[in-house]
């Protein structure tokens, strides 16, 4: 019954006052990022826009993360970043992704134990498709990417909730 009823000696069961909606809200508010994350796909900052678009198709993702040689997260590439570049006159093979990416510190990140509902709020507020899941290394001076969480993962969560598959 998980919260709907409480019991006391000589009283028996009584209704705690929590509604079904309230219980549902409480349930969703406890699901963390690591329960629904996907693997990240990264490209090097020196790669061309052309190669990044190819990687996006080959890996079947909608967002790429850009890293430097130390594997530090330096940027994010959305499909729209790549489309914007394709409107220009310059050959896509000659533009490095570092020129068109959204770069740190303007990137919204999250961590594996963050709540998925916080991520959902950020995705809506900032109108983006996904966030990199990061770990801090060297006392927080840089981030390494360990995962990715997107509106697809959120959609999968809703389907699981409807199928009663969330523990």
């Amino acid at each position: 019954m998980s919260g709907y009823l409480d019991a006391r000696p000589r009283v028996g069961y009584f209704y705690t006052g929590k509604s079904g909606n309230h219980m549902l809200a409480e349930k969703i508010k406890h699901i963390t990022v690591n329960e629904y994350q996907s693997r990240p796909v990264v490209v090097q900052e020196s790669e061309s826009v052309y190669d990044a678009i190819c990687t996006m198709f080959l890996e079947d993702v909608g967002t790429l993360f850009v890293v430097d040689k130390q594997k530090t997260l330096v940027g994010v590439l959305s499909r729209k970043d790549l489309l914007r570049a394709s409107l220009g006159k310059q050959a896509l093979e000659s533009i490095p992704v570092s020129i068109i990416m959204t770069r740190m510190p303007n990137i919204t990140v999250c961590k594996q134990d963050d709540l998925i509902i916080e991520v959902a709020n950020k995705l809506i507020e900032k109108q983006i498709d996904g966030l990199p899941i990061v770990v801090e290394v060297e006392y927080g001076s840089r981030f390494e990417v360990v995962g990715r969480i997107t509106k697809s993962n959120i959609t999968a969560l809703l389907v699981d909730l409807a199928n009663d598959d969330v523990i």
Copy 2:
């Protein structure tokens, strides 16, 4: 208490056997598309890929619907359809969207009174971002687009469920 408890004369309240998860699942399974839809953005089939990309930025959407002169839905353009076109050598101004779009009858559509959970399942299964919401005209021989439902709408629904905002 909406289903958790039932009552009978001389018996009093008793637990119906439905779990919190079950109730949540039931709740989600009753939400329809028209409660969370967005407005559709359409382009004509004769427009160029270049203009379609511009429309996508101007209208701030991720999916465009392609219509003919009778306003009949004839195709869908995803960001990836447009990116694929940009990998080619041809000038984007010279390619009509009708060449690169996904065309009827290969388009998944939904209606305003469909269940949102069915849409969520289709979005995951077909790995797409959104569906056109259509009405049948002329006895079902053609579809007109009246809305759009995407993973962003599904994400907004999850946030509402967590905030206890869904009636």
